[in-house]
């Protein structure tokens, strides 16, 4: 029998994170026609979460149903994953671009002695040789790497692959033992989780769409124009440093060299001139739209679509049109 390709499912509130499910298509592609793709989930609600795999055609799921793994550090999860990978005979693990997915493969590099890569945007396996492509330098370049060794673990980049297609099927759950978890790995304790703030954290760095505002907004009280447009698109909100330095919005909103690097499917820059320090944080976005009254603004050099005009007229019209087009 050919070894299965293992997909790591990060579980939250009894559901597999959508970014983890993006890994299914990649695993299938790498598995080829004859190797099975199997899922892995951990925690006290593992069995419930396993159903999310079955919905997308992954019928065999390894479940480490263990309440100790509900709010455990990634090191403990890596223990459970390694045990599951060994018992399934798998030699390749694919994780989605969740925060734990990326850290997990780093732990597996040592624990499972796997060749690893994160932020993967393309992956191929030819004659057993796994090659991955990944964006580097904030998306200003890309590299192809060859993973060497008997085992590999990769984490894909969020939104780099199409969302999985529903293929509901039967579900066969296989319980896997977590085994001993070293006390040092179980000592940390998660005390609270606060809901994400749209303008910060992975909300901004991992969003599929980002709408950013610059000094062209004129002041903190006008910045809601950008936030309204973002809300209509279910997008995260970013800002130029001019905005965060002036205190119109917190520093967590800043995109650029000294802020966050983002690379969404769609980046809309509103009233942002396009200084190099801003550009390095967003040029790798797939599609860039610029709205600026100055046709000579450098942002138009990197944008795909531009509207030269007064943002105070364009942005409200755009928000209304987006709402209309989305039936809201």
């Amino acid at each position: 029998m050919t070894p299965p390709v293992l997909v790591f499912g990060e579980v939250h509130e009894g559901r597999v994170a959508s970014a983890s499910l993006e890994a299914i298509a990649v695993a299938r592609e790498l598995a080829g026609p004859s190797d099975p793709v199997i899922g892995f989930v951990a925690g006290s609600r593992g069995e419930a979460a396993a159903a999310d795999f079955a919905r997308f055609g992954v019928g065999r799921v390894l479940v480490a149903e263990d309440p100790r793994l509900d709010a455990a550090p990634v090191g403990a999860i890596a223990h459970a994953v390694t045990a599951a990978a060994r018992s399934s005979g798998s030699s390749l693990l694919v994780a989605g671009g969740t925060t734990f997915g990326r850290e997990l493969v780093g732990r597996l590099a040592v624990r499972w002695e796997a060749a690893v890569a994160t932020g993967v945007t393309e992956a191929t396996r030819v004659d057993g040789t796994l090659r991955v492509r990944r964006a580097i330098f904030g998306g200003r370049a890309s590299e192809t790497r060859r993973l060497e060794g008997e085992r590999s673990a990769i984490a894909i980049r969020p939104h780099a692959f199409p969302p999985p297609v529903e293929r509901p099927g039967a579900l066969a759950i296989e319980r896997v033992a977590t085994g001993d978890l070293p006390a040092s790995l179980m000592a940390p304790h998660r005390t609270e989780v606060k809901a994400p703030d749209r303008g910060a954290g992975p909300g901004l760095t991992d969003a599929a769409i980002v709408v950013s505002g610059g000094r062209g907004l004129r002041g903190p009280s006008e910045f809601h124009l950008v936030e309204d447009l973002a809300a209509s698109l279910d997008a995260a909100v970013g800002a130029s440093r001019a905005v965060t330095d002036a205190g119109w919005r917190p520093a967590s909103f800043q995109v650029g060299q000294t802020g966050k690097a983002v690379s969404p499917q769609l980046y809309i820059a509103v009233g942002i001139s396009g200084a190099i320090q801003h550009l390095v944080g967003m040029v790798s976005s797939r599609v860039i739209v610029a709205i600026n009254s100055d046709a000579g603004a450098p942002i138009f050099k990197v944008a795909d679509y531009g509207i030269v005009g007064d943002l105070f007229e364009i942005v409200p019209a755009l928000t209304a049109e987006v709402r209309r087009a989305r039936g809201r």
Binding site: P196, L266, V287
Partner: protein, 260 residues
Amino acid sequence: MEIVVCVKPIPEAETRLRVGADGTTFDAEGVKFVLAGYDESAVEQALLLKEAIPGSRVHVISAGPSPRTDEVLRASVALGCDLATCVDLSSANSAADPIAIARALASALATVPHDLVLCGKQAGDDEAGLVAPALGELLGVPDFGYVVDLRWDAARKLLKFQRWGESGLELWEAPTPCVIGLQQAWNDPRTAKLPAILKSRKAPIARAAPPAGPTSPSSRPERFELPPPRLGARLIEYKTPQEAAEKLVKLLREEAKVFP
């Protein structure tokens, strides 16, 4: 508290990237290497803890090709780090492999006291984010990435920190030792003063040998590519803002296929 910060030299942000001679990596000729942005936040965090906990020391370690490493070690000393160690990985192969870097750091840590190890959660060159978790596994301690704001609860002898996880901002408590990967640009890193910069030029840098034995890289770069230059925006012609909005939505939906 014995605090260790791991730092990486990376090309400064304004660098015009070029493909190197063998095509596998960038051309480092004439490139200025600086402290990685995430690492600046890690150094700042280390210094904040040192200021808050009497009797603490900050030891900065860099594993990479010397003399690039020495530049960022001196920059960290100028900011207030107490001790500096370089693990020279002049062999380009292992310097380009994040796991080999983690192994080199772990071997240096065998002789460096450490209650807490801080890193940037990733570096702005390879963007891998692998060093902190691999180091955690090598040291047999927990690691946490995406961390903003780390404090020491002296009464309970616990680290308290916030971390961006999948479901939001998570609050954690952890005893030492542990490895923490810091987010970038949340703590407004300080800048060094001129006298400190001048003094750091003479700061001693300890040299640690890279780990012995075969350092077979787990992944090897084969090709480095730059994206085709962007051609400039297609400007939308319109008479009213409504028309501009309608045209843009249509293009995003039908041509670019990125409309949600």
